[in-house]
Symmetry: C2
Subunit: 326 residues, 2 copies
């Protein structure tokens, strides 16, 4: 099995199906922007994971395609609504829905995508319907809770690393976990196998988010595709900042952090100073170590699955996700 | 069976369960406003209809309670998001969620209510799970389409009565129809019985909306609980206005209507003039006739159900819904 080739063929099935979900459908004020957001590209990680998880428990990827497309649409719903809340003007180099159309449209487009996601999921009703819909439903609830926590953190200065890891497990990791769970259910895995797949996905989600926070300050600007240090300018409570706050209790460094909290961000010229501080205090190294640790855990979580090519594929998939430079 | 008593006991079960759904749950930034909107009162028409529909096909009301509460929460999700889009500051005499908190909170609260609605629905997984979840899902999609159409109508001057009836069947009527359908499914009705229940609900929804448009100009201000003529001031495409536009092609009356369209509403002093125009042209009478017609159709739709007290209860229920003065 050529892993990359297998990933690309899964992804192309997903892209094709996503294009077909909406098609030329009325009212156009609702479905044109829905089509726009769904055609925005992306790695389709969640959809492909549903297919790979189904294969890893002995099912077929194609049998899990509709469920995967459903999860991918749910992910896109969160992007559209988060972009309104974050007042983001662009995403992946294109205007966001509320910028290109208006806020009311973006609210409705997100809402209808929840319905479309679920109707796609039910196209070929899975044998274990109640479990699949329940996983889907808890995914929606947890993602909303994660986003609410993230918003609470903006005005809280006592966020611990554990709080932070919980928040990203909900906000970023939850739909990846839901993808693994739904794939395991559609493939008719055992409870132990499904738990293993969920843990794998959760750990990948955490590794991914910590790496995202690292890349914001260590990546090459051209490869990242956006300005370095954006999180520092915005005063965002990243993994790095939360760790720094925990372990820096006094001195000049603490005063710099306090200033960042008070002013909700630092000026651009402070980016190299913060980078140097994170480096000197060993925070970059500890973040890199944690990324490796979570990936190792994710791989270990797969031990409960039968030793197949499909399981190896999941290990390759984790590395592929993490291999981005920007 | 004392019909009013039965309605009130169903409603009180619904209110109790709605209070329990959220309870003291974290994050509070998400669940306090959710609790607030769910405790805002209301007739709980959709939830009670789920219970009554289940009874009318031979099931029990209590067995359909969770599904009813789920539909009621879905209805509340639409209110929270519609209020953002309509920039409404108050609802039922209380501040709207986006006014009391902020828009981001209101978006998230609506989103999480979709998840909570469905998780309530699945508490005791219904035997006909796929059908119930599918009805629920199509309810979400259609309500969004109805709201999108309503927004399109704001800038369209060629809306026909058929367009209008289609829009309200989606926006206002759809969740009432979903309630009847889900109740029929949970009560394990036959396809014919469920079709009858859906038609009943759809016709009630249409009668209700036309009456709503009528009351805006004919009600007693104190009983309506808001200013008379709000729709005229806003230039809203109501049943009355759409009918008037269809049958008034020239003369002073047409010029008044064109002015209303061009300026997106008329000044307050024009309210009695418009009322007189609607009266003189027979539009009020034809609206009243249509309300009666839809209610008669709704009653006829129930003929396919067994002749029981539960069926009589549905007839009483339709009259109760329409008996409001404001």
């Amino acid at each position: 099995m050529d892993f990359k080739q297998h990933y690309l063929s899964c992804k192309s099935l997903v892209d094709e199906r996503l294009r077909a979900v909406v098609g030329p459908r009325e009212p156009s004020s609702l479905y044109e922007p829905t089509q726009y957001i769904l055609s925005g590209g992306g790695k389709r990680i969640r959809a492909v994971l549903v297919m790979l998880a189904a294969e890893a428990v002995g099912g077929t990827g194609i049998g899990a395609l509709a469920a995967g497309v459903g999860i991918e649409m749910l992910h896109n719903f969160t992007l559209v609504h988060d972009d309104i809340m974050d007042r983001a003007a662009t995403r992946r180099g294109r205007q966001t829905v509320h910028t290109r159309w208006d806020e009311g449209t973006a609210i409705l487009v997100g809402d209808v995508m929840i319905g479309l996601a679920q109707s796609t999921l039910l196209e070929n009703p899975p044998k274990r319907c109640v479990e699949v819909v329940r996983a889907f439903t808890h995914g929606i609830i947890d993602v909303c809770e994660g986003q609410a926590l993230d918003r609470e953190f903006e005005t809280r200065n006592d966020v611990t690393i554990d709080d932070y890891l919980h928040m990203i497990a909900m906000k970023t990791g939850r739909l990846v976990e839901t993808a693994a769970e739904v794939g395991g259910l559609v493939g008719d895995g055992t409870p132990e196998q499904i738990d293993g797949l969920r843990a794998y996905a959760r750990h990948i989600g955490q590794a991914f988010q910590i790496q995202d926070d690292l890349l914001d300050i260590t990546a090459d600007e051209a490869e990242l595709g956006k300005r370095i240090g954006g999180d520092i300018i915005e005063g965002k409570k990243t993994y790095l900042l939360v760790r720094a706050l925990e372990q820096t209790t006094d001195g000049d460094d603490r005063r710099m952090l306090d200033q960042m909290l008070a002013k909700k961000g630092l000026a651009e010229e402070m980016i190299p100073v913060m980078r140097d501080f994170y480096d000197r205090r060993g925070i970059l190294d500890s973040a890199r170590r944690d990324v490796r640790l979570y990936i190792e855990r994710a791989e270990a979580d797969l031990q409960v699955l039968p030793e197949t090519k499909a399981r190896e594929m999941l290990i390759w998939f984790a590395q592929m996700i993490m291999s981005r430079k920007g």
